[in-house]
Symmetry: C2
Subunit: 220 residues, 2 copies
DNA sequence: TCCAAGTGTTGGCGGTGTCAACATCCGAGG
DNA sequence: CCTCGGATGTTGACACCGCCAACACTTGGA
């Protein structure tokens, strides 16, 4: 039933999962545009059009792959967060935010294809994979970021009034850096330069969270 | 010679430009994936394969379209910069940076397709369109950003030591916000929410540039 | 004048997504 | 135990695509 059958049987057993796994492999190698329904079917050992019994559309398969990618990104972030062990609560909260950002960008660079497919917009689908912002739970990377920022408020590093909206600014910075390094004009900067740039930006984020003692006067 | 000829002539006259223009239209409507060589040739009134006399590859045509997009983005930014007229030099410099960022994001939202194609990475090409970072001139949006930051240093708002590397952080933030709004999980937030988020982030950038009077102590 | 390079055309190959019709298997109801 | 219907996989076809090869026309300079 659940496991793949041995010899040649008319029914595959769990084609859907097999297709998604093959799709993940293909996306890893060639990116979202490098995955073809027919090719996936060929790899799995099934003839074309079989996929249409499990996905109405190519985009639907891509979305399933994107879901895997988003989950992997989330788990990668969770591992980074768990690895932070600093006794001082303020330093701990700051380091957690920094490591979350670093993990995000690292994942993007390590898993180019998965990252790209995870954030490729599929207009035919009603919601982006694995993260409905209006949703109350926030299971994905956005939720991790929100938790980190809430921690920063709790330990007194980030002032509550500066907290509002900070999640989007942080997310944009980290996501944008990933995109610029991945397929943007920063594609082929040397690795050492890239890590320096990333470090600088993470520091800027850390500093910009600390808004308490500042006498900044806004524009307008 | 240069202008399009009237009736039916074997040679088109300036096929390359016509193809790029048709490609820009197609990208505007359907995005980078929606442009097909054969379709473009059909629109221009020329038969398929004619494009291969001017572009060795589909990617090469896409790159030409991307160049148009990048130029449009640059001009849009220049217009925004020119519109800032504040007598106070500090306010003026700060407003210019803010407006440049707002213009970048606005362009991305207004010209979805052109923006996407401008930043789509074409691995077959040796350099990203219209912006070689190692180049000395920096004609594109990155150059505008650098100029704005230099101005901020000149007027004394941004400290010279905080200047280094700030261009990448700012760029990443603005670019990431564009991507999240364009094809990311922020695709369908209401317009008013989007503008609020953008404003908040631009303020955060402005505030984070002002690092002079802070007693921020770095991590590690 | 004529030839060679530049440009556009026709035809074809292999690939793709998707639809329609058909084949096979499995499990529930008799 | 049998049957039959739904789920699943297959074959075939259509239209489209990128790209290659061979051919046709046009034009400018030797």
């Amino acid at each position: 039933m659940s496991t793949a059958s041995a010899g040649t049987s008319y029914h595959h057993g769990n084609l859907r999962t097999a297709l998604v796994e093959a799709g993940v492999d293909a996306v890893r190698e060639l990116g979202p545009d490098g995955v073809a329904l027919r090719d996936l079917a060929r790899r799995v050992g099934v003839s074309h059009n079989a996929a249409y019994r499990h996905f109405s559309d190519r985009d639907e398969l891509l979305a399933a792959i994107a879901d895997v990618g988003m989950t992997a990104l989330t788990e990668s972030g969770a591992a980074r967060l768990a690895a932070v062990s600093d006794p001082d609560p303020v330093r701990r909260a700051r380091l957690r935010l920094r490591e979350l950002g670093r993990g995000y960008i690292d994942f993007a660079r390590r898993e180019r294809g998965l990252f790209r497919v995870a954030f490729a917009g599929y207009p035919s689908l009603e919601s982006a994979p694995a993260m409905d912002l209006a949703d109350s739970e926030h299971a994905g990377p956005f939720g991790q970021l929100n938790d980190c920022l809430d921690d920063l408020v709790r330990v007194g590093y980030l002032s509550p009034d500066a907290r509002a909206g900070a999640e989007f600014a942080c997310w944009a910075a980290v996501h944008g850096m990933s995109m610029l390094l991945l397929e943007g004009p920063l594609q082929k900067v040397p690795d050492e330069v890239a890590t320096a740039i990333i470090d600088h930006m993470l520091t800027a984020i850390d500093r910009s969270q600390w808004a308490s003692g500042s006498d900044y006067e806004p524009l307008d």
